[in-house]
Symmetry: C2
Amino acid sequence: MRKLIEEVFASQLANPILDSNADAITLPALTGDLMMSVDGFTVKPLEFPGGNIGSLAIHGTVNDLAVSGAIAKYLSLSAIIEEGLELRTLQRIVHAMAEAAKESGVLIVCGDTKVVPRGDGSGVYFTTTGIGVRKCEFSIGLKNIISGDQILVSGPVGDHGTAIMLAREQFGLNADVQSDSANVIELCKALYDLPGLRFMRDPTRGGLATVLHEINRATKLGIRMHQVNIPVRDTVNTVCEMLGYDPLYLACEGRVVAVVSEDDAEQALSLWRALPQGGDSQIIGEVDSSISQVVLETPLGGERILEELEDDPLPRIC
Amino acid sequence: MRKLIEEVFASQLANPILDSNADAITLPALTGDLMMSVDGFTVKPLEFPGGNIGSLAIHGTVNDLAVSGAIAKYLSLSAIIEEGLELRTLQRIVHAMAEAAKESGVLIVCGDTKVVPRGDGSGVYFTTTGIGVRKCEFSIGLKNIISGDQILVSGPVGDHGTAIMLAREQFGLNADVQSDSANVIELCKALYDLPGLRFMRDPTRGGLATVLHEINRATKLGIRMHQVNIPVRDTVNTVCEMLGYDPLYLACEGRVVAVVSEDDAEQALSLWRALPQGGDSQIIGEVDSSISQVVLETPLGGERILEELEDDPLPRIC
């Protein structure tokens, strides 16, 4: 166990704070309000086009902090490894984790590893907890949202969900779809100074539609979406049509949904489009107190209600 | 999923900071050096005399901080639940978790829940990450240890390991052994002001012997233990003799091993014995540069080398 920790984890993730012999570490002094977030990762398969469970475990927690207004600094990591997981697979996963941490500007400062017998796990499960410093002066939250606010998305939706579906190879389908797994730090930072910023979320499990329902439930305001403006890759659309999925319900792992005041929406769009990660961003709908549900205007001028997801179509998506 | 989170977790663990609708929470301002620790919990069975995986998940992380010189304030919680886990079982576990958090003076401020298909888990796995404030002015650590330092233990060893062994019911043995699972905050706090305090650790996986080996490995100094002074319950001794285990290698979950200077050792012992949790504490050995290994003096005056644990005799002990 000590060997596993030192050779696989500590060697890849080494930094001056991490101490594999200590029960706890002292964090360097941090100035400002601290924010904290935790996420568990159980994705299957462990590796997929565009990432693996290791990079996902970094992006997931970094992104939860970023959409909440904070830049992640320090992460804790817990790994629950199933006996029999190939060492080389684990090494690739931890390598991707180290790369993602570096790109995201975070250090993994403490960790724990447990090995469970074959059949009591599924390769490896990770949990990361992030500590970040609040950089957004505004309080971002669902409670700020009012009728007329615009809804933006930073890029095509459904890539991660589709990539995972294909990687499971249950359907005998081949298509070139990569997970969008990435940190969304720059996208979020770009809006931190915008007075009209109301709320941000990364549309992971349950996808864009689930974020819209969350807004609808919390605000009791309706939402009107314009399907023609919602970016979805052609390949994702094709795969979804063949398999009977709706890309609006499929997970993204590197996108942001933002709610911004009517006055600042165009400015937000420009800020995002100026970034490499936001080139395909769009204003996709608005909050509308004259309706009570989440309504999608179809390209032909029709309307349909986007129902709340009843059953998760894809367990273990993240 | 939302119902599960709200009815089972949020209802039991409610506090002003926890927000089941937020991706991240803001921590109230903390004064002093912050320390951080993480632990994963995979114990089997989930419930055992003296505790369950829920109380253990609190004590484990609170204790890792306490022995490192910090009092835990805030915890994050990740739960990976296997489909099919009985709701009532989960409710009992989360109830014990809430009680343990209350007793330990910590708040669970953020959480994440994942459900994995039957066969991909084992009831439930938890990960907790703790944030605490350093209260011990001294730097506690293995590097402080010198020859002549005394080794103390706060109570009988091997209770948790034995209780888990019996709870697995593989041996057809019945005996009244309770896990010692508890927070060790008061025990640790009692020594924070003692100038001769060198190092503390809670002897969990691998037990007392594994802590001694850790000291031996880090300091290159030998350790001489006096078996007659090491507190072990009669029932634990009997069960271990029947099953061929050595209680010195079995996990504790509510004990502290402390290394204290020769001058302050008696004072440390008095401080511990004045506490209800430390009534059975003992000075059990000393660091000795004239030897190079971990040596146990037996009650009859013999000596044997306490070897390092090769294989974990009890996987999934915590």
